[in-house]
């Protein structure tokens, strides 16, 4: 597979739309079905909205790429990163219904449920990087 990668700066609600559209387009191109396209676009929407809501100056990036074909088949990976305040308790924020009080309590836990894999790399003061993946069935 040709290296397909898009990097989208996130700074506002227009970028949330652009990022989820780009993820959906790539997913469609990779042969993901309608439901998976919806899951992927929605997860990207949740994560990029977290950037707009919580990151410093609402700034971050979303990188959307196809994964090299492996034993798991065809995959898509989205990395959403920001230099925001970071997360002190990564395990806590992934619990269903967790909310910092400002959000909807669904961003991270919802993304995890919609995707096959999710990793959070974060520490207070060091920003947050969330990586999500889905494999085509």
């Amino acid at each position: 597979m040709a290296s397909t990668e898009r990097r989208i700066p996130i700074a506002g609600d227009t970028d949330i739309v652009e990022a989820r559209q780009a993820a959906r387009e790539l997913a469609r191109g990779l042969g993901f079905g309608m439901v998976d396209q919806s899951r992927i676009a929605t997860a990207v929407s949740e994560l990029t909205r977290n950037v707009v809501r919580y990151a410093t100056n609402s700034q971050g990036t979303a990188v959307i790429r196809a994964l090299p074909t492996s034993t798991r088949g065809v995959g898509i990976e989205i990395v959403v990163a920001d230099d925001g305040p970071g997360i002190a308790d990564v395990a806590l924020v992934q619990q269903a219904g967790y909310s910092s009080g400002r959000g909807l309590g669904m961003g991270l836990s919802g993304s995890r449920r919609l995707m096959d894999e999710m990793e959070i790399d974060s520490a207070p003061g060091h920003g947050t990087t969330v990586t999500i993946r889905k494999w085509r069935r």
Binding site: T14, R20, S38, R39, T42, R49, G97, L104, G110
Partner: protein, 143 residues
């Protein structure tokens, strides 16, 4: 700062507002395919404001072309329905795509406060049934 991005300002003014039209006692809004947060919030304000101005008793929101309903938009649809109810109106959301329905369930968003129907016709029928809305002679508002 190097990282500050500039954005052509026209994009901010090219907002495709979602028209809210009134047909009888029902407000109808057809949501476009991709909705920014601010568009959704504007729709909420428009609908509630129009309810106040017109005294409409039903709200029909067509989302049949909406491909992505995330927790923000899902909750907002619910909020619109709750707000409309407080204003004496019933809300029905029509045309939720199957993939969106599955995603909403997995997200844990059940839209409990919202009536739903598959098509606008069924949505209008549901509004009539639920709220007693009838095609009344003009001037009278019988529910």
């Amino acid at each position: 700062m190097r990282s500050v991005r500039t954005r052509p300002s026209p994009s901010l003014h090219n907002v495709a507002r979602i028209p809210v039209i009134k047909v009888g006692d029902v407000l109808i809004a057809s949501v476009q395919e991709e909705l920014r947060d601010r568009d959704a919030l504007e729709l909420q304000a428009d609908l509630i404001g129009t309810l106040e101005r017109t005294g409409a008793r039903g709200v029909l929101i067509d989302v049949s072309v909406v491909a992505t309903v995330d927790s923000f938009l899902g909750r907002l649809l619910n909020d619109i329905a709750v707000g409309a109810r407080l204003m004496g109106a019933v809300t029905v959301v029509v045309g939720i795509q199957p993939a969106v329905a599955i995603t909403l369930v997995e997200l844990g968003l059940e839209l409990r406060g919202v009536y739903t129907a598959s098509t606008p016709e069924k949505g209008l029928a549901l509004l009539r049934r639920v709220s007693g809305l009838v095609d009344s002679p003009r001037g009278s508002r019988r529910w």
